[in-house]
Amino acid sequence: MSTPKRLLLTATSLLALLLFWQIAALWADSRLLPGPPEVFEAMVRATRTGVLPESIAITLARVAASFLIAMTLGSAIGILLGRSVALNELFGPWVVVLLNLPALVVIILCYVWFGLTEVAAITAVAINKIPNVAVTMREGAAALSRDLDEMAQVYRLPRLRALCHVTLPQLVPFFAASARSGLALTWKIVLVVELLGRSNGVGFELQTAFQLFDVAGILAYALAFTAVVQLIEIGLLQPWERRANRWRR
């Protein structure tokens, strides 16, 4: 399908959703289910006071920090485990335990042990994400081509050159997959972390709105933040993936 046609289809689909929402709001006729105009108004109001953009910026900074830490550590751990059978047998079970630890438990423990600090918040989010990245990257590292490895060995490629040209390109699809699922997971957990122990950011504003039963406010923050995350996906992640995949037929 051509790009304009696809865009048109997406726009139509989103418009239909808006329409559905409006009808539901009219039918419910309640303060607890505001329609699109009320939510839009709340969005404009919060933007005018500057609270909405500031909260989004703060939350995004937390997402970025914990995302970077989780991707770096998770990839390193995953590649090590995928490359070494012994290490995988030794530490594989740890990853499984961490993977199945509820996010909320990690968050609470981090706050209890490190106090209600920025470091605790970002650590908690990173710890939640690291095992997911590690598991995906481990798959990739275990599936590395032995043929190409041997080629690199015969031609005596220095370690760094082999890493850049032979190993890492094979891991790009796995890296992209964990980055995509990672971004979605990270920002959801960041909101919870903010709700539980921070005094700013989107999560904190949501909690305030919750206490006031301000549903329009909740939806305004949620939609604005979702839109920003979508922009990151379309503007950053997808172009990078296209570039990394341009060799494919």
């Binding site: 043929d147 060799w247 494919r248």
Partner: protein
């Protein structure tokens, strides 16, 4: 002084879930003189690839030794599959084993010209035909100006015309940059057309059943009658 002295006391394949272990080499010796083109002729599955991998240092799980005439010789290896990096352009693939920088790229470009692929320098390997990919692999092997060139059925699964063109190319490249060649094949015609020594292998464990020096002129190599004669002389051991 030989360029490669192979002495494998013992090489076994370990028993795996897929099957029992087996002995591939026992007391196997082969000396290759500098500048020789040795064709290793034998049935598929005999252990010819294993032999090349041992010489290349990829397989160290054996008892014995491989000695080279020069200290740390430059090795080129044309694998059975081209083993190119699909995410790097043709030029980048040829430049890969060369020192990074403009000089390496210049040499790689010149090499691509020699194998007739200058136009495809910026293409990605998966867009090339198998024959073209094999040319790139040859260019990469010759780019490092190898002392020893290992070739593992590098022209298999090409049509006869394509294989003949690649054999011509190989002869031309070797004329420009002499190297000691170990060439694995199961095709007697290919062996006779290229080699100046044919070693016929049988197994298992692998042993040398014939070791035939060949001194054919290029005119004789071009004559199919002469080639058929040598093929007959190779005897009935290797059907090919």
């Amino acid at each position: 002084m030989s360029a490669v002295a192979i002495d494998i006391a013992e090489k076994r394949f370990r028993a795996t879930a897929g099957g029992p272990g087996r002995e591939v080499f026992r007391g196997f010796r082969l000396d290759v003189g500098a500048g020789e083109f040795v064709a290793l002729l034998g049935e598929s599955g005999l252990g010819k690839t294993t032999l090349l991998n041992i010489v290349a240092g990829l397989d160290r799980d054996y008892r014995g030794s491989v000695r080279f005439g020069t200290v740390s010789p430059r090795l080129g290896y044309a694998f059975q599959n081209p083993r190119l990096l699909p995410w790097r352009t043709v030029l980048e693939n040829v430049a890969l084993p060369l020192p990074p920088g403009e000089e390496g790229r210049r040499r790689a470009r010149a090499m691509l010209g020699e194998v007739g692929l200058a136009d495809l320098a910026d293409a990605y390997p998966e867009r090339l035909s198998l024959g073209q990919q094999r040319r790139v692999a040859l260019a990469r092997a010759f780019a490092i100006e190898p002392d020893v060139l290992l070739m593992d059925e590098p022209f298999v699964s090409l049509d006869e015309a394509g294989a003949a063109r690649l054999r011509d190319l190989l002869r031309r490249l070797l004329a420009g940059r002499p190297a000691t060649v170990l060439f694995v094949t199961h095709d007697r015609r290919e062996a006779v057309e290229l080699a100046n020594r044919i070693v016929v292998l049988e197994g298992a464990p692998v042993r040398i059943v014939r070791d035939l020096p060949l001194a054919l002129t290029s005119a004789e190599r071009a004559s199919s009658a002469r080639i058929d004669e040598v093929r007959r002389a190779l005897g009935a051991q290797a059907q090919g």
